[in-house]
C-alpha cells in the first residue's frame, strides 16, 4: 500500500484516504476581464503533464479533510514531499535536493 504523509495529521496514511485535486500553485489572475480567449484557455484548462516531477494538490478527504500540496514523481509515483496548503512552492533547488 502506498503511504502518503499528511502534514496536518503528521502521520503516514494509506493512499485510499486521499483524493487527487489537480495541479498546485495555479495563480488565478486578478484581472479576469483583461484576458484574451487564448490567455483564459491557457489559465483555465491547460495543465502540465510532465514525465517526472509534478506539484499537485491532494485532499485527505477520508481523514482530516484538509487540502495539502505534494511533490510527486509521475514515473515512480513516489511522493517526495508533502506540505500544507498555502505554504510556498518548493524552489527548483529544493526539488533537486529531494531527488538526491
Amino acid at each position: 500500500m502506498l503511504l502518503i504523509h499528511c502534514p496536518y495529521c503528521e502521520d503516514d496514511r494509506p493512499e485510499l484516504e486521499f483524493s487527487h485535486a489537480g495541479q498546485a500553485h495555479i495563480v488565478r489572475p486578478t484581472d479576469m476581464d483583461g484576458l484574451s480567449d487564448e490567455e483564459f484557455e491557457a489559465m483555465f484548462f491547460i495543465r502540465d503533464n510532465p514525465k517526472g516531477i509534478i506539484l499537485e494538490r491532494w485532499r485527505h478527504s477520508m481523514g482530516c479533510g484538509r487540502f495539502l500540496n505534494a511533490v510527486r514523481h509521475t514515473v515512480t509515483d513516489k511522493f517526495l514531499k508533502t506540505y500544507k496548503a498555502g505554504q510556498p512552492r518548493p524552489t527548483d533547488k529544493d526539488i533537486e535536493d529531494l531527488l538526491k
Binding site: M1, Y8, L16, E17, M62, G63, C64, G65, R66
Partner: protein
C-alpha cells in the same frame, strides 16, 4: 393550541448483534451527535457549554459523563452524547467562533470488541490498528470498504465505529464478513 408533533426515532440497525469466538459486533444504542467546526477560542467556549474540555491534539479524545469529544481535524470535532440522547448539544445562541450542526440522526454506530476486533476492521480498513499506531483513546476518520467512517478505540480490544446511516447495512454486512475471516 396546536398539538405538538413528536418524531419517532427509527434506528437503522437497532438491536443488531453478532458474535463468534473472536469478535462481537453490536449496534450501539441511540446517541446525540454534533459536528463542530471551530477556532481555538470557539472550541473552548463550546466545551464550556457542554461541560467537557475538547481535546486540542489531532486524533485525541476526551470523555466525561457519557459525553465524548473526538478531534478529527485541525478545526473539526465529533461530539457524541450517549446519555442525553434526545437533547441537542448545539447552543441556542449564535457564536461567530464556531459552527455546530446536530447530526444525531445522520450517524449510527457499531461497537466491535474482542481479541479479533482489529483484525475484523482490517479486512476492509487500510489503517494500522496496532496499539502502537492506534492507541486506546485514539480517533480518526478513515475508510471501511467504500464507506467513510470514524473509528474510536475505547479500549484495547474495543472500537466504536461511527458511520452514516445510509451506509449502515453495507458496513454491518461487511463487518460480519470480516468477523468470519478474523475467526479463522
Amino acid at each position: 393550541m396546536a398539538d405538538s408533533i413528536t418524531a419517532e426515532r427509527r434506528e437503522i440497525v437497532a438491536g443488531f448483534k453478532f458474535a463468534n469466538n473472536a469478535v462481537s459486533i453490536e449496534a450501539a444504542p441511540a446517541a446525540s451527535r454534533t459536528n463542530l467546526r471551530a477556532t481555538t477560542a470557539g472550541a473552548k467556549s463550546f466545551g464550556k457549554s457542554i461541560s467537557l474540555e475538547l481535546p486540542t491534539i489531532m486524533h485525541e479524545t476526551a470523555s466525561k459523563a457519557g459525553r465524548h469529544a473526538l478531534k478529527l481535524g485541525p478545526d473539526e470535532w465529533l461530539l457524541i452524547d450517549t446519555k442525553n440522547i434526545n437533547d441537542s448539544m448545539v447552543p441556542r445562541l449564535a457564536n461567530k467562533n464556531f459552527s455546530a450542526v446536530d447530526i444525531s440522526h445522520r450517524n449510527c454506530a457499531f461497537v466491535i470488541s474482542g481479541a479479533g476486533a482489529a483484525n475484523t476492521l482490517n479486512t476492509a480498513c487500510p489503517r494500522d490498528l496496532s496499539l502502537a499506531a492506534f492507541p486506546v483513546g485514539t480517533c480518526s476518520r478513515t475508510l471501511f470498504g467504500k464507506a467513510e467512517v470514524v473509528l474510536y478505540r475505547t479500549a484495547k480490544d474495543t472500537f466504536r465505529l461511527e458511520c452514516w446511516r445510509t451506509f449502515a447495512t453495507y458496513v454491518r454486512d461487511y463487518l460480519m464478513d470480516g468477523a468470519k475471516d478474523a475467526h479463522i
